[in-house]
């Protein structure tokens, strides 16, 4: 069961949960103008775990994901309520530096979006603006390890100075993952990262997600139930802006508690 669905929590319990989970959303609400997109979502994101967000389109998966690194701030009429913490720290606190937050909580988008620059520059860009490296040697090192972590190094090491946009779709997406990894984030958010990829490129990205899990905390939005089942350890099911249930992926895909989850994953009419 969702352990944080309990409405009445002692401050001490909240403190304990904030410390034991990587990120914690409490009573998160989101409005786009007058339209409410999320209703009191309580969801814990565990460290070194892949959490999949599933649910019919328009249910608020991307909206919730974007709350986790304040990407919603960039949307004009968007208002976020409730509380979201990263290692116990409120990320909506006025003292938070949003640029720094987005380095700690990186994001990979649905459509691969490399900058119109070389492969090398795509990866070196983040470390440069965050001042993570000075010398050429340091940059070379970061670019190489990031591309290795993204499983792309062997495919591009001989053409690092060619345009990133010249890669295949799957390679571009792994380049975007390398770019996210380059600034040493703690959490990586992915919004339908494979929806533009063919099955082989998808399998490579999924394998990569599996490997990244030991060093990062990953939250992935996917409309593919099979993908959620393959890559995640925890699954959160959203419907009409509400969190229906969150549980071990094994449990969700063999015997979910909620009939709305069951109907959705089995492809039934509710």
């Amino acid at each position: 069961m969702n352990m944080i669905a309990e409405t009445k929590l002692e401050p001490k319990q909240v403190q304990t949960m904030q410390n034991s989970f990587k990120m914690l959303g409490r009573n998160v609400t989101v409005h786009y103008g007058a339209k409410q997109a999320l209703f009191d979502v309580n969801l814990a994101i565990r460290q070194n775990t892949v959490t999949a967000l599933i649910g019919p389109s328009g249910c608020g998966k991307s909206t919730f994901l974007r709350c986790l690194n304040r990407m919603n701030d960039t949307i004009d009429n968007c208002r976020v309520g409730g509380e979201i913490t990263l290692e116990g720290q409120d990320i909506y606190d006025p003292s938070i530096d949003v640029v720094e937050l987005r380095a700690r909580v990186g994001m990979v988008f649905q459509k691969p979006n490399p900058f119109p620059k070389s492969i090398y520059e795509n990866v070196a860009y983040g470390p440069r603006i965050h001042g993570l490296a000075r010398s050429k040697v340091d940059f070379d090192q970061i670019v190489e390890t990031s591309l290795i972590k993204a499983g792309l190094w062997n495919e591009v090491k001989d053409r690092l100075h060619e345009a990133g946009t010249g890669l295949s779709g799957g390679q571009q997406q792994r380049l975007c993952i390398a770019r996210a990894v380059a600034v040493s984030p703690e959490v990586i958010l992915m919004d339908e990262p494979c929806s533009a990829l063919d099955p082989i490129a998808t399998a490579k990205v999924e394998e990569l997600i599996h490997e990244l899990r030991s060093n990062y905390t990953i939250v992935i939005v996917t409309h593919s139930m099979q993908q959620a089942a393959r890559v995640s350890q925890r699954t959160a099911m959203f419907h009409l802006g509400q969190l229906v249930e969150e549980n071990d992926t094994d449990k969700i895909f063999t015997n979910p508690d909620e009939s709305r989850t069951q109907d959705y994953i089995m492809g039934r009419f509710g």
């Binding site: 895909f253 063999t254 015997n255 039934r268």
Partner: protein, 237 residues
């Protein structure tokens, strides 16, 4: 199953599996009942029929397995759907074993026929088979409506059959000791009784599978066991 799939063909495939299982259940029941009749009445023709029916049951089990594999490959079922399909494979396999036990009983009719079956023993085996068949029939009804509660109660009743089997076992040993010429037919009858007792176990397996299909968890508690035949010793008076 209140709601239906968006893919109607998927619903049809699941219904097809369920129908084949029900048919297998009907045939398995009939085979066991006819095998026992053949035994009690020394009816070798009926025994032959049971042996040939087993081929049909074997083919049906393979067909359920093949169909299930195809559904899994094409639909990637999850949750209750996945349990339904895996459950079908298990139940088909239990029913196929029930058929084998019926066939094995039928094959022994010729060996037992020469000496005939003592009236009292025939009654005992008939009664044992009635209990096993009743359990099989009930479990097939429970399959038809997927009731977890009823599945649990069937499972709790297997001990009646086990107790009856133990008493037949004891009786057969006594006959054998009275007259060594009874040893051959009684040994065959012993296997027949054991076959029937095993049918009860398969019905219990099926009940457990249905419980799992309906709830996603295994039934509570140890399976009741009252088969004490493995410790029975009869000494000559």
């Amino acid at each position: 199953m209140a709601s239906t799939h968006i893919y109607t063909a998927f619903d049809e495939e699941l219904k097809y599996l369920a129908r084949r299982i029900s048919e297998m259940g009907g045939l398995a029941e009939q085979m066991v009942s006819e095998a026992v009749q053949a035994l009690v009445n020394s009816d070798t023709a009926l025994a032959q029929k049971v042996v040939s029916d087993d081929v049909v049951l074997d083919a049906a089990e393979r067909e359920v397995g093949d169909k299930a594999i195809i559904i899994i490959a094409r639909r990637q079922p999850v949750a209750a759907d996945l349990r339904e399909i895996i459950g079908s494979i298990r139940i088909a396999s239990d029913l196929e074993r029930v058929g084998d036990l019926g066939k094995n009983t039928a094959k022994r009719v010729i060996a037992v026929q020469e000496s005939g079956v003592p009236r009292k023993l025939a009654r005992g085996i008939e009664h044992l088979s009635e209990l096993a068949l009743m359990q099989l029939k009930e479990v097939l009804d429970v399959y038809a409506n997927r009731s977890a509660d009823k599945a649990q109660s069937i499972r709790d009743r297997d001990e009646e059959i086990d107790a009856m089997y133990t008493s037949i076992f004891r009786e057969l040993l006594t006959y054998m000791m009275e007259d060594p010429r009874n040893i051959t037919p009684c040994t065959h009858l012993l296997f027949c009784a054991k076959n029937i007792e095993r049918i009860g176990d398969h019905a219990t397996n099926i009940a457990e599978t249905i419980y799992y299909m309906a709830t996603g968890s295994q039934p509570e508690g140890e399976r009741p066991k009252d088969d004490t035949a493995n410790t029975v010793v009869v000494t000559k008076a």
